[in-house]
């Protein structure tokens, strides 16, 4: 046991957090925002009376939920430069960079999960609320934006945040495209200094504390919302 050197953690703290954790948190926050926006649009499509639209959204969601995330990360990492080139009509694959590639991947992937949450949220709003909006003369987008979605979002906030905790942990998978997230940064130091046990233990503890803390926050929020109803 005497071979362990926990000082390596202290020495690498600035790098771990300033580089690694910043990447992780930025990716989590942006992918969450993008995922909820895109997911909500998908949910509206899925609930549309127009069959092709709901089938398209349904197919997308089922596809994303049936492929392992690691695979999606790989696929996007190699595909996005070509898709970008095709869209921009460039002859060569465009340079995207690991962060943007990861961000696009997670937004697209998580949108499928946020979609199912928002779908349940929209369906939890009584039909009379929609009627009431239409009866006032509001159109579909106004009724959705002002009446249905704000209520659906509030009802689903705890579940959305729980999904975000999962997203926060899942971002560690970007190590497969050699991005320097929190885990990636720790792993670089671990390999450089041969301090695998120390670094990976520390990483596990940090992930646990942050995830558990956020879960507790969600639980308290749940209680507060329950009282308001």
């Amino acid at each position: 046991m005497s071979g362990f050197d926990f000082d390596v953690i202290e020495r690498s703290l600035p790098y771990l957090f300033r580089e690694g954790m910043t990447f992780t948190l930025t990716l989590t926050a942006l992918a969450m925002t993008g995922g909820i926006v895109f997911g909500t649009l998908l949910a509206m499509m899925r609930l549309s009376a127009f069959k092709p639209l709901s089938m398209l959204a349904g197919a997308y969601v089922n596809l994303m939920r049936s492929i392992p995330l690691v695979l999606v990360i790989f696929w996007f990492f190699f595909l996005v430069p070509y898709i970008g080139a095709w869209i921009l009509r460039e002859p060569n694959p465009i340079k995207v960079g690991t962060f943007w590639s990861a961000l696009i991947t997670f937004t697209m992937f998580e949108a499928a999960y946020y979609c199912e949450i928002m779908r349940a949220g929209i369906q939890s709003i009584a039909r009379g609320q929609v009627w009431s909006g239409y009866a006032l003369g509001l159109n579909y987008w106004q009724t959705m934006g002002k009446i249905v979605l704000p209520q659906a979002f509030r009802n689903m906030l705890p579940v959305l945040l729980t999904q975000t905790v999962i997203l926060f942990q899942d971002t560690s998978l970007v190590y497969v495209i050699s991005a320097t997230d929190f885990l990636g940064a720790a792993s670089k130091i671990a390999n450089r200094d041969y301090r695998l046990v120390e670094m990976y233990s520390f990483v596990a503890i940090v992930y646990f504390v942050m995830s558990y803390g956020l879960s507790m926050l969600v639980r308290r929020l749940q209680l507060r919302i329950a009282i308001i109803r």
Partner: protein, 242 residues
């Protein structure tokens, strides 16, 4: 002002409305009654196209409701509607409920809309509650706010879908009083209700429905005096006895 001709509607293979025809003139108060499941709520929701119908036609001031080219939001904004379960927006204050339609649909300024909304709120006796949320009000109060909300759009006609059915008995009158006042001012109204006292007091005509058909469509005096159909007689005897 509102004219229905041979309106029929199906839910899948089940026919909920069969060949319904009637007219509502300007300033007229028409009460629609009948046993539950007779299609009266569905009929009234067809008037502002909340429920689509497959056959027949409905026109409001000459504008066809079923025509796909009709600007439905615009048409709906001119017809006020009050629902059984109030359907105020629970995440907005009373004042916000009263101004949303005015600002978003009629394009009024927030100041103008608020002034109008508060004036109507005062009229239904609830000005003191302007900053509360619907959940903090009683059922009767919520329904009065809902009536004020519908009136804030300056409607040419009002539709009421069982406005007192979800209320505790002691709150029914406060809502009916507002409706009676509205009727006396000459508002064109179509009211689905079991409140025969209200019908006797302000209705011009009573429509009785059963199994998706308009069984009786008569002047109030005729309806309460000598209902022609057996079904209406039975319904009246049941509802007036208790």
């Amino acid at each position: 002002m509102i004219s229905m001709k041979n309106v029929s509607k199906w839910y899948g293979s089940f026919q909920v409305l069969t060949e319904c025809s009637t007219e509502v003139a300007k300033g007229e108060v028409v009460v629609v009654c009948g046993p539950s499941g007779s299609g009266k709520s569905t009929l009234i929701k067809c008037v502002n196209a909340l429920e689509p119908f497959e056959k027949g036609s409905i026109t409001v001031e000459g504008i066809s409701v079923g025509d796909p080219k009709t600007n439905l939001p615009k048409l709906r904004s001119r017809i006020g509607m009050v629902f059984q379960n109030f359907e105020l927006f629970p995440h907005m204050t009373v004042t916000e409920n009263l101004t949303l339609g005015q600002v978003k649909v009629l394009g009024r300024s927030t100041g103008e809309a608020t002034e109008k909304g508060l004036k109507l709120l005062d009229r239904v006796g609830l000005l003191a509650h302007k900053d509360k949320y619907p959940g903090q009000l009683s059922g009767g109060q919520q329904q009065r706010v809902a009536i004020a909300r519908a009136l804030s759009m300056d409607p040419i006609a009002m539709l009421f879908d069982e406005p007192t059915s979800a209320l505790d008995p002691e709150m029914i009158n406060e809502v009916l009083d507002v409706m009676v006042e509205l009727a006396k001012e000459g508002m064109t109204m179509m009211v689905v209700t079991h409140e025969m006292g209200f019908a006797r007091k302000v209705a011009h005509r009573v429509i009785f429905m059963d199994a998706g058909r308009i069984v009786e469509d008569a002047k109030k005096e005729e309806f309460f005096g000598t209902p022609r159909s057996e079904r209406a007689q039975l319904f009246l005897s049941k509802i007036l006895q208790h």
